[in-house]
Every structure is written in structure tokens, then in C-alpha cells.
Symmetry: C2
Subunit: 329 residues, 2 copies
Amino acid sequence: MDNRQIVLKTRSQGVPSPTDFELITGEAGRPVEGKMLCKTLYISLDPYLRGKISGRHLSGAIQPGELMLSETVSQVIESQHPDFSEGDIVAAFTGWEEYPIVDGALARKVDPSLGPVSTTLGILGMPGLTAYAGLMRLGEPKAGDTVLVSAATGPVGSMVGQIARLQGCRVVGVAGSEVKCTWAVEQAGFDACINYKTQDVREALKQACPDGIDVYFDNVGGDLLQAAMEQLAIGARVVLCGLMAQYNSDDMPPGPNPAWTIKARATVRGMVVYDHEDARGEFEKAVSGWIRDGQIQYLEDSADGIENAPEHFCRLMRGENVGKAMVAL
Amino acid sequence: MDNRQIVLKTRSQGVPSPTDFELITGEAGRPVEGKMLCKTLYISLDPYLRGKISGRHLSGAIQPGELMLSETVSQVIESQHPDFSEGDIVAAFTGWEEYPIVDGALARKVDPSLGPVSTTLGILGMPGLTAYAGLMRLGEPKAGDTVLVSAATGPVGSMVGQIARLQGCRVVGVAGSEVKCTWAVEQAGFDACINYKTQDVREALKQACPDGIDVYFDNVGGDLLQAAMEQLAIGARVVLCGLMAQYNSDDMPPGPNPAWTIKARATVRGMVVYDHEDARGEFEKAVSGWIRDGQIQYLEDSADGIENAPEHFCRLMRGENVGKAMVAL
């Protein structure tokens, strides 16, 4: 059986290009004891992959010639693992390929009753857990707080904003288009959303957060982090979660002067989702309930076919996706 | 009775110069109801005064022509406040003058049994409380942690290091001369002290903190903060307390990239001592006990006479003081 795969051809310089990747066709493998042959249903595309391409992500590098790695949702075709049967839906860290061999010890069975299985890569998966644990554990939102979140329609940002809203916070988003801002306010129930491409961000932050920012959940770094630090309320919490502003660069630009943290007596914390696996049970229970009750909206930005994975990933890294980027096979 | 005072003549540019100040002689006042006439014994000189001269400290500005403000220890000569009597020793926020009129409502009686009264400005005063509350509340040291502290022989840094040592931590200091480093290790019991003027700081940090830095108590900002952020252990706490590297500048240089905080899953907190007045009782009890038991060493760098206050302050701002800078009258 043919197994089409996307491999990294060359390390991207700056914003990735589809020519940095290559489609190759091989033969699907056969599962040995403890493994399964699966058919990929959805491939997650995430900004941290850009760091793996550059070799500077803490989960390790992808070398030229190697399969592009990603979390996926797939269906078991043939199982040599006692806990999984043909037809089961599993989430695992596999890659951009049609027929992965999945190690049963590293796979999670997906419960389709929690929500559509594609949400295992978004709202009910790693981005959702990032948002939930990052906001609830590190952001410590209190009712009445003003919560600012960047990349507000992305899978992390949109969840952060909506979970904050459900905690009784006033929620302000920042995003890069009118379509995104409109979705945040009208669909996701944000109180305001600033378009950083067309608005004066400092002025807009003053208007949207007149009493300062109590929680800033940062998915981007760069100028927006600087602008937010300047308008923190006393006792603010800043969750540093993503660095979209610098993923496409090999440079490490400087950050905000420490005086802003001192002035606000702020607490600034670094968020890595791998540290919060112990929150997954509580998170799945809360979010599946919110999905069932219609209290959480989510956006998926899906491309069809493995051959379109490279361009769809490049679109994500250009900030053109609206919602969780994935590939449906 | 003559009352000699030092007033600000002109806002300092860069490192302050004695010519930025002026000695004037006026007439000592008489206390009205609720006030006291006092004789100044010790004037505290502190880096934050540089920010007041520039008009950018959160406690307010000192304008040219105005009295230089400082915390002082003085003795009551004439009291019109029921809680204070002639001869009492009081700590208050007065200024660089010989005979202040002190508001009884804003003065604290000094208990000479806690330690020498000059320590009310150092180890038992604002710098001591800064060190104690900053380390214990924000740094959260655990036995076995590696604690790094900059300005290691200053009144804050030397206390941070010694309190950390008393908590069972391994303590590494950074200071700007051999004399300072020798004092930190031989007198204050630090495990190591790096001379940032003669050593390669990154290399020296690697050697002194082979398992990374668990707590960095930062009194300086600048390059040293950057170097420390690069070598944080996972779960590190960073207490941002002082910015000696930038007090003499009107610029706000950038700080470390947020990636360092994320990589270490660090918690970075801004420390302002005014927020920790509620820790004073616990702090005085702990520190006076340590002084009594000879477990804490401290250094005072004292000049004699009000006329020497400007040059002594400039010396502090050039980093030439060794220990708590003060003026004895």
C-alpha cells in the first residue's frame, strides 16, 4: 500500500516556503508487537514546528530529509497492541504521512463522545490544554479582571479568551484582520478585539483596558508584549506562551525592560504545555462540557490532502490562518 | 539654630556629580502639634534616589531647589506628639538636613535593643526588608537551591545571600571588585562570588552554578540579567528588585527575550518593598535574632558630615561604595 509522506527538504530561511518540503511516496509499514498501522485523518499544523525546522525547539529538531512530525488523529487499521482495536480513533505524535506506524504505548485513545474528533488537535487537544492550564494555573484569572490575549482567534488564544469570559473576566483580544476581530467579538464573546495591523495598539489598549491589564496571555512576543507590559495593572500576571513574532527569524530580539515588571509588581511566567499533563482530566471534563452546552466556539482552518500540507503550514506561518490549522486526509 | 541642608541644584545627567547639589543654611523650625524637632544621626543614601532626581521613581520626584529626601535615623529634641519624647530615636522619611521637623504620624520609634541604630537604615531597615520579603516571598528558596544575587555586598544583596545561606541554599554573588568578592565569601559565607569587571560572567556562572540558577535576585538589570536568564534551571524564580545598570541613564534599554523565561518555565516577579510592610514584624524578629547570634554580617560605608553627602551619594552611583552607604552627622 502506498504511503505518501512530506519530508523536510531544506531548513527554511525566514518565512517558510512550500519548496522547503518534498512529497515522497513509499510503502506503508506493517506493525510489529506493540504497534499499530493507522490511517491518518487529521494532521495538526502548529507554530512550534517552525522551531523544530530551525533546530531550536525544546522537543528536538527535524533534519532535512526527515519526515515532518506532527500530532495527528488517525484510525487503527491493524493493531498489534492489546489496548487498541481496528477502527479505534487515536491521537499520537506521528507526522505528515498517510499511513503511520503508531506505538501503542505513545498513543491516546480518542473518545468521540467528547466532541468532533478533529478537536483532539485543537480545543480538546494540545492547544486547548495549553490555554486551559496556562490561563487557570499561571494566569490565575479572577472575576472582574481584564484579560488580554494575542493571536485571539488561534486555537490557544480563542480558548484563553472564552475560558476567561466563563470565569467572569472582561476579555480583550488582539488579532491581525477584521475577519478575525469580528469573529472574536461576535462569535467568541470577547468584549473587544484590536486589529494590530490597522490600529494604534498602545492607544487601542488604553481604550479597551482603561484600568490596565490584569492578565496578559502572550502568544506572540515582540512589539505587542512590549505594549502590553507598559499597561499592566498592579499585580498583573503575564503568561509567556508563544513567540509568533520571532518564530520565522533566527535572531533573538531583545524583550521588554525589567522596569515594566517591577513597576506593576507583575508575575511573568513561562508556559510549556508538557508540564501540565496532570491537568488533562480536569481540562477534558471542563471543555467537553462547555462544547456540549454551546458555551465555547471554535474555528478550524483545514486543508484537504497531504499534498497541501506544506502550503497550509506556510500560510499559518504567514499568519493567514483563521482558526486551528490542520490537514484533513 | 542653624540647619544645614543639601538641596538639588540641577537634575543630574548620567552619573551624578557633587556640583548637582548645593549646601544651604537656614533656620531650624519649631514643631507644631503632632510634630517633632529632631537631630539627624544617620542619612540613608540609596540608588532609588537617582530615579527621584530624574523624576521617574514611583515615590515621586525631587525638583531642583528642593531638599534632597532620604530615610534618616534621628533623635527627638523637642516633641509635640504624645507618642514620642525627647531623646527617642526615630526613623522617618526626612532628608539631607541636620534638624528636620518630623511628623509623628509618619515616624517609627527605633528599638535600640534590636541592633545598632544605624542598621535601621540597612540590615534592619528598608534594604533588609527588601531582601527578606523579596527572597522569602518572591524567591521562595528551598534548601539545596542555587541562589544568585547581584550587587552582592550592597545592603540588599548581602542580606539576600546570607538569608539564603541560612535557608540551606548554595549562594553565588556577583560584585564589582576583589575586595567585595572577598568579603562576600570570607565574611558573609557565600559559596562563590564572581567579579563581573574581571571575569567572563557567562563562563563564571557556568562554573559556579553547574546545575543552573534556581533563584536569581536581581539588583542591577542590564547584561547580568541577560546572562543569568540564559542559565536558569527549570522552574527558576527571578526577583527583579533593582536596576543599578540603568539608574544613571534616561534610556530604557531592552531586556531579555521572553524565550528565556519560557525555556526555564521561570517565574519572574517585580519587587517593590512598599508592598511588604506587613512582613516587617516577622522580618525584625528574624534579623535581630540573626544579628544577636552572629549569623549575619553587614558592611556600612559611612561618610561624616552633611557637607559630604553629595560626594558620598555620587560614589554610590559610581558603584564605589562597599556596603550600605550612609552619612553620619
